[in-house]
C-alpha cells in the first residue's frame, strides 16, 4: 500500500454516497430522487460498467419494481418473458421424478413472474437513475471506509489507480479520492469487503446467527429451437449432490432460444473434496438436462456467492452515518431462490430512512421500524425456517418445508437457527471421501480455463494481488495438510493452485489473481479465514453481458 499521508487526495461531498450499482443500490438512488430531487446522490461501481459484475438466475418478481417505477412497462424495462410453465424435478442418476406444482410451497410457484437478465435490468435501472440526475461512476472501486472523529461513517476512499505489484506508483498513478456523504449506503452485494468490516466494527451481527452462503453458477446457452419453450422454469434437487449437501439447479427458457442454466450449492458443505464447479458440470450431463442442451452452444459462464442465511442471519442494517442494503446485509429469500425484489425493497426502505434522517432529523435507526412494517420483513419471516431444516438432510427437510410452508405458511411458533459459519463446516481430508469427477467432454462440460475465458475477466497487469493472505505460510502448513487445499476446488475460476517447486523442494501456494471473477467464495469458505478479498484496481474483474 502506498503511504496515505504522502498523497494529496481530492475530496467530493454528496448527500448520499452509494457503493455498488446493483438492484439495491440503484433502487436506493432512484427512490431518494423520487422523494426529493434536490438530494445529491452518487453511486460508485467497481465493474467496468453497470451490469458488468451482475450475475443472477433470474426469475424476477416485480413487486418492488412496481413500487419503484410503476410504469416500467411503458419505459421499456428489459422484463419481457413471462413464466408460462413450471417443473420441479427430484433427480436420481438416471431419471427424474416430477413433483406436481400444487404440492410446492407457494414461494416456489412462479406464476406472474418473469425470466430476465438481472445485468440488463441493472443497466436499465442505471439509465433511469441517471435520468433523475444520479451520478454513476463505473470503474471505480470503494477500497476503504472513511470515518469521522466521532467514529461514525463519513464516506469512502476510492482505490488508487496505477500502482505496481510492489505497491509503488507507476507513471500512470492516479490517487484515489475521498467521497463523503451525509449518509453512505453500502450495496456491494453478498460478502462486500467493506460491509464485512462494518459488520465487525459496529458488531451489527451480535444478535444474529452466523451468515450462511452459497455459490451459484450460471451459464447461458443458445439451444436448438425444438428444445426451447420460452417462459419455462425448471428447478431440480438431488443428483449429482449427495443428500447431505444443500443445493439445486435452475434452468430457465429465456428469449432468443437462450437457456439460463445454473446450480447453487450451500457453502456449508462438509467434504473438502467436493468441487461445486464439477457438480454443476456433471449436472448438465443428466439425461433430462443434456437433451435440452445437446447441439446447443454455451455463450456465457459466471459464478457468484450468494446469501442463504435469511432473517436469522440478517445483521442490523443501520449504523452511525451508514446503511447496509441488499445482500451486503443479506436480504435474499432462500426458499424462494430470489433476492432481486428483496434487495430492491431494502433499497426503497433505505431511501425512506435517509429522507427522514436528512429532512426530519430522525436517527438512521428508524430503518428498523420501516423495515419491520414492510412486506419484506413479513416475507423473510415466513421463509426463515426452510434453509436451517436442511441440516437434517434433503428428504426430512423437504417434508418439514412442506409442513412449514404449505400448512403453517411459515408461521410456526419457533425459529431454527444456523449453527455454524460456512468456514467451520469442512471435515478433515483424512476423514473424507475423494470424489472422482468425470472428464470434461468439451460439448456439455468444460474445464475452468475455457469457462473463465467466457467471463471476459481482466485485471490490469502489474498491480497488487487483491487476494491477500493474512498468513502466507498457512495454505501449505495447515490448509493443504488438513483439508488438501480445498480452494483449488471451491474457486470457480481456477485462481488457486498448489505447485511443487523442485529447486526449493517444497510445495507452493499459487494465486492467479487475474482470473478472479469476484465471487468472494474464498473469503467465505477458507477454513481459517486466511484469505481476505480486497478490491483490485477499478474496472477489473468480469465483464458479464447478459447475466
Amino acid at each position: 500500500m502506498i503511504e496515505n499521508q504522502n498523497i494529496q487526495r481530492e475530496e467530493m461531498s454528496y448527500d448520499v454516497v452509494i457503493i455498488g450499482a446493483g438492484p439495491s443500490g440503484l433502487a436506493t438512488a432512484i427512490e431518494l430522487k423520487k422523494l426529493n430531487p434536490e438530494t445529491s446522490v452518487c453511486i460508485i461501481e467497481k465493474g467496468s460498467e453497470v451490469g458488468a459484475h451482475i450475475l443472477s438466475g433470474n426469475v424476477f418478481e416485480t413487486k418492488a419494481l412496481d413500487e419503484l417505477i410503476p410504469d416500467w412497462k411503458e419505459k421499456n424495462a428489459p422484463i419481457k418473458t413471462k413464466v408460462s410453465m413450471e417443473e420441479f424435478l427430484f433427480l436420481n442418476k438416471k431419471n427424474g421424478m416430477n413433483i406436481p406444482t400444487w404440492l410446492l410451497p407457494k414461494s416456489l410457484q412462479n406464476h406472474g413472474n418473469y425470466i430476465i437478465s438481472l445485468a440488463n435490468l441493472c443497466r436499465w435501472l442505471g439509465e433511469q437513475a441517471e435520468a433523475l440526475e444520479v451520478e454513476i461512476f463505473p470503474g471505480f472501486a470503494a477500497s476503504e471506509i472513511i470515518y469521522n472523529e466521532d467514529g461514525s461513517v463519513a464516506g469512502i476512499q476510492t482505490g488508487d489507480m496505477g500502482v505496481d505489484k510492489e505497491g509503488q506508483p507507476k507513471d500512470t498513478f492516479e490517487p484515489g479520492i475521498i467521497l463523503k456523504g451525509k449518509v453512505t449506503v453500502f450495496a456491494e452485494g453478498c460478502r462486500g469487503h467493506l460491509g464485512k468490516q462494518l459488520i465487525k466494527k459496529f458488531e451489527l451481527d451480535k444478535n444474529s446467527s452466523p451468515q450462511q452462503y452459497g455459490i451459484g453458477f450460471k451459464e447461458i446457452w443458445e439451444v436448438d429451437e425444438t428444445q426451447h419453450q420460452e417462459g419455462k422454469v425448471l428447478h431440480s434437487v438431488g443428483w449429482p449432490l449427495d443428500p447431505k449437501t444443500y443445493g439445486g439447479s435452475f434452468c430457465y427458457h429465456a428469449e432468443n432460444n437462450q437457456i439460463y442454466i445454473g446450480y447453487v450449492i450451500g457453502l456449508d458443505y462438509q467434504n473438502p473434496y467436493l468441487s461445486p464447479y464439477d457438480e454443476f458440470q456433471q449436472f448438465k450431463t443428466h439425461p433430462k438436462i443434456s437433451k435440452i442442451l445437446k447441439g446447443g452452444k454455451r455463450i456465457s459462464y459466471g459464478a457468484r456467492a450468494l446469501i442463504e442465511g435469511g432473517l436469522q442471519s440478517l445483521p442490523q442494517m443501520h449504523m452511525p452515518g451508514a446503511l447496509l442494503v441488499g445482500c451486503d446485509a443479506g436480504t435474499l429469500n432462500m426458499p424462494k431462490i430470489k433476492g432481486s425484489h428483496t434487495a430492491m425493497k431494502s433499497g426503497i426502505i433505505a431511501a425512506e430512512t435517509i429522507q427522514q434522517h436528512l429532512y426530519d432529523k430522525k436517527e438512521l435507526s428508524v430503518f428498523d421500524t420501516i423495515f419491520k412494517n414492510s412486506w419484506l420483513y413479513q416475507e423473510l419471516y415466513e421463509a426463515r425456517n426452510v434453509k436451517p431444516s436442511f441440516r437434517w438432510g434433503l428428504i426430512p427437510a423437504m417434508i418439514f418445508t412442506a409442513i412449514d410452508q404449505l400448512i403453517f405458511k411459515g408461521k410456526l411458533p419457533f425459529t431454527l437457527n444456523h449453527l455454524h459459519a460456512d468456514h467451520e463446516t469442512l471435515k478433515l481430508a483424512k476423514d473424507s471421501k475423494k470424489i472422482d469427477y468425470p472428464k470434461y467432454d468439451g460439448q456439455l462440460t468444460f474445464d475452468k480455463a475455457s469457462s473463465v475465458y467466457l467471463t471476459g475477466t481482466n485485471h490490469a497487469e502489474n498491480q497488487i494481488i487483491h487476494l491477500q493472505l493474512k498468513d502466507p505460510k498457512l495454505p501449505i502448513s495447515y490448509t493443504l495438510e488438513k483439508f488438501d487445499e480445498p480452494s483449488i476446488r471451491y474457486c470457480p475460476a481456477g485462481v488457486y493452485d498448489i505447485q511443487y517447486n523442485k529447486e526449493k523442494d517444497e510445495s507452493e501456494f499459487i494465486i492467479n489473481s487475474q482470473n478472479c471473477i469476484h465471487c468472494k467464495t474464498c473469503d467465505i469458505k477458507e477454513p481459517s479465514q486466511n484469505i481476505n478479498w480486497v478490491t483490485p484496481e477499478g474496472g477489473g474483474g468480469p465483464n458479464y453481458a447478459n447475466m
Binding site: 481530492e10 467496468s48 500512470t172 479520492i177 467521497l179 471476459g456 481482466n458
Partner: protein, 249 residues
C-alpha cells in the same frame, strides 16, 4: 497549435466476441463498448503535448451513434477540451469516415490530426491513410515516438526492417501505435468536469458525404475450432507426420 483527435467506439477488448445466430454480424446488444485502444494512445499523446505547452487546444471527434458521446466524454475526462459528434449509422466505411473527417478538418483547421493506427473491430487500417490522401497532407503511420519542432514533427515508426525516423512538415496526419505511450486514468473529479465540457453534434447528412456502404457483408462466421495437439514418440514420427499429414516439409 491545435490538434484534432478522431476516436471510435468499439466493442471492449476484454469482451469475447460472439457471432449472431443468423450470421449477419457480431452481437453488440448489452456488450460493453469502449474507446478503440490505439485511439486512446492518440488522445494521450495530444494531451501530453498540451500539458507540455506545445499545443493549445485538443478537439475530439467521433462518428457514429448517439452513444459515441460516452467515448468522447472519456477523452474529455482524460483532458481534451471539447468534442464533436458526427451522428451517423453504425456501418460507416473508412472512406466515408475519412471524407467526414476532411469536412471537420476544413472547419476546425487543426495543425495535426491524430488517429489510432487501426480499429480493433474491423482492423481496416485505412482511415488515416485515406484522410492524408484526400487532404493532400503528409502522413506518419504506426508512430511510436513523436516530437514537435516548430512547423515540423519528428516521428519514429515501425516498419518491416525496424524503426524509421522521419521529419514531417505540418499540417500532417499521424496514426498512433500502442507503444507510443501509456494512456492515463481519468480521475473522478475530471470525469465530473468532463460532463460540463461542450460536445457539438452534427448530422452526417448535413456534410454531404456519401455514406452508402461499398462493401457487402455476405456472412460472418466464427473461425473453425482449433484441433488439439498430439504427442509424438520420437523425431522419426514427427518428421513422418510433418511430411505426410501436415505436408509442410
Amino acid at each position: 497549435m491545435k490538434i484534432l483527435v478522431a476516436v471510435k467506439r468499439v466493442i471492449d477488448y476484454n469482451v469475447q466476441i460472439r457471432v449472431k445466430p443468423d450470421n449477419s454480424g457480431v452481437e453488440k446488444d448489452n456488450v460493453k463498448m469502449s474507446m478503440n485502444p490505439p485511439d486512446e494512445n492518440a488522445v494521450e499523446e495530444a494531451i501530453k503535448l498540451k500539458d507540455s505547452g506545445e499545443v493549445t487546444e485538443v478537439v475530439i471527434v467521433s462518428i457514429g451513434q448517439e452513444k459515441c458521446q460516452d467515448t468522447i466524454r472519456t477523452a474529455l475526462a482524460m483532458g481534451a477540451d471539447r468534442g464533436i459528434l458526427v451522428k451517423a449509422g453504425d456501418d460507416i466505411e473508412p472512406l466515408a469516415v475519412a471524407k467526414t473527417l476532411k469536412n471537420i478538418v476544413e472547419k476546425e483547421k487543426p495543425n495535426m490530426v491524430l488517429l489510432g493506427k487501426q480499429a480493433i473491430d474491423d482492423y481496416c487500417n485505412q482511415t488515416g491513410q485515406m484522410l492524408s490522401a484526400i487532404l493532400n497532407w503528409p502522413q506518419g503511420c504506426f508512430v511510436s515516438e513523436l516530437g514537435i519542432n516548430d512547423s515540423a514533427i519528428t516521428i519514429s515508426r515501425e516498419i518491416d526492417e525496424g524503426l524509421e525516423q522521419l521529419e514531417i512538415q505540418l499540417p500532417a496526419v499521424v496514426t498512433c501505435d500502442l507503444r507510443l505511450n501509456e494512456p492515463r486514468f481519468a480521475s473522478l473529479p475530471n470525469i465530473m468536469k468532463a460532463k460540463k465540457k461542450p460536445i457539438e453534434i452534427i448530422e452526417i447528412e448535413s456534410l454531404g458525404v456519401d455514406t452508402i456502404p461499398k462493401v457487402k457483408y455476405l456472412k460472418v462466421e466464427e473461425p473453425p475450432v482449433r484441433q488439439g495437439g498430439v504427442m509424438v514418440a520420437d523425431v522419426k514420427e514427427l518428421i513422418q507426420k510433418l511430411k505426410y499429414e501436415a505436408k509442410v516439409i
